[in-house]
Symmetry: C2
Subunit: 268 residues, 2 copies
């Protein structure tokens, strides 16, 4: 089911700036997270992304009414907020009425061994550009992700890592990345590229519970190879350890399972 | 009037990848150019942009049927081709049916002195990112242009110049740029940022007629200040000389008017 401004199975105006320019933001979350404490975090990020683009974010209650309409059979919810319909031209109209799109999809089925044994991952050829004005925002300009995800078809490769044009690791095409080395949980600095996801934020908050210090900074592939445990996360998969990256393999570490337990049990 | 896959006033599916990811390309042209030799050039660029994103470009005849439906009162035509509707996820479906959107708008009214006396232009604060995989393509990921165009409201400033993050001039928010110095027509290299427009291509082709050599390369603001004549172009405005850029002013040069005459009389 898809709701457009609360109306079931409605369509989008061809003049919507979300279509013309990718002028909007989005979020993807599990339906169960839309009904618990995690929703506050998701909405806060949506509102913050809207604010960075000066799009008026619809009230949380409007989304909550949409969720109630979706019913409980949906597994994954995607929210899109665009700046709304507009005239020709890049200049945003002074007053726009944002478009709110809420759609439901079944839970994607991943092989159980992804969570249990970790996943095989490749390094994408595409290098992410750096744009501090847009970095971190989950906006609708996602051609880099589309091109990167088009690079491989092998169903055994679950994710591709994206480096920026200075060869620093930013994350996966659809995931954020963490690497444990000693007692430090490293994660890439996202001030120039990438999307700062809600699950990344949660994991950073849980590190202290596990006796890990958090370091946000620049990471190279060699830094990953030298790490004890490297993980990928997002709101749908939760967390997966990287088992294999190019020629490097890792045994099961201890932190991925601990973090998964925290993600699944703490209601924030 | 808006045609979606040839159907008047139809709407867009919320699952269209043009909306989800900006996964598509577009063109803007004068209706009169859709009825003359310039259309071949516009279509060739549309098809080439589609090919770079591996989107199946609809046949030219489909657009031509759309143009006939628009009638002759339209001034400006915008074409959008998206990869079509898709499931969740960045991976492009193997088979998609592209979405073709053709919309008509009145001719924008610019003060006649823009063409006659030139325009005042500012330098945008936003720096363009560099992405060789997308540079040159008129794709739907245009948040940089939206943010740049949001930087000023002054109606006397007709355009903002965009520099990349190495401070090289790429063009305007909606225009390509040329600078004449001596007998050389300089234009920015667009292999890392910017959109390579059809009017730019035409002007490069006309340079020899005017005794100018063409140089495509890196240009700084100082290179512009040291130029005899600096111009902006696109398919809608044709060509405007820059009269004023920050504190620098230029008198009317000879090449802008000559190039405008060529653009308006040569049917290609």
């Amino acid at each position: 089911m898809i709701l457009v401004n609360g109306v079931a199975n409605a369509m989008i105006q061809p003049s919507d700036r979300g279509l013309s320019y990718g002028d909007g933001v989005f979020r993807t979350l599990l339906l169960r997270d839309a009904l618990n404490g995690n929703w506050r975090r998701q909405y806060a990020k949506l509102a913050s992304d809207c604010a960075r683009l000066r799009i008026a974010c619809p009230d949380a209650t409007l989304f909550e009414q949409d969720f109630a309409q979706l019913g409980s059979d949906a597994g994954v919810i995607k929210l899109i907020v665009t700046r709304g319909a507009g005239q020709r031209g890049y200049m945003p109209p002074e007053l726009t009425s944002p478009t709110r799109i809420v759609s439901a999809a079944p839970l994607p089925v991943y092989p159980p061994q992804c969570a249990r044994d970790g996943v095989a991952v490749r390094v994408c050829g595409l290098r992410l550009s750096r744009q501090p004005m847009l970095a971190g925002i989950k906006h609708l300009n996602r051609l880099e992700n589309v091109l990167a995800r088009s690079e491989w078809q092998d169903p055994d490769i679950m994710e591709g890592l994206l480096l920026d044009d200075t060869d620093h690791v930013i994350g996966g095409t659809m995931t954020n990345l963490f690497a444990v080395r000693g007692n430090v949980l490293h994660t890439p600095d996202l001030s120039n590229s990438g999307i700062a996801g809600v699950t990344r934020e949660r994991i950073m908050g849980y590190a202290a519970n596990l006796g890990l210090a958090v370091s946000v900074g620049q990471l190279t592939l060699n830094d990953l190879y030298a790490s004890d445990e490297v993980m990928l996360c997002n709101s749908i998969i939760g967390i997966w350890q990287i088992r294999e990256l190019e020629r490097k393999k890792w045994l099961n570490g201890r932190y991925t399972a601990l973090l998964r337990t925290l993600l699944e049990t703490i209601d924030d």
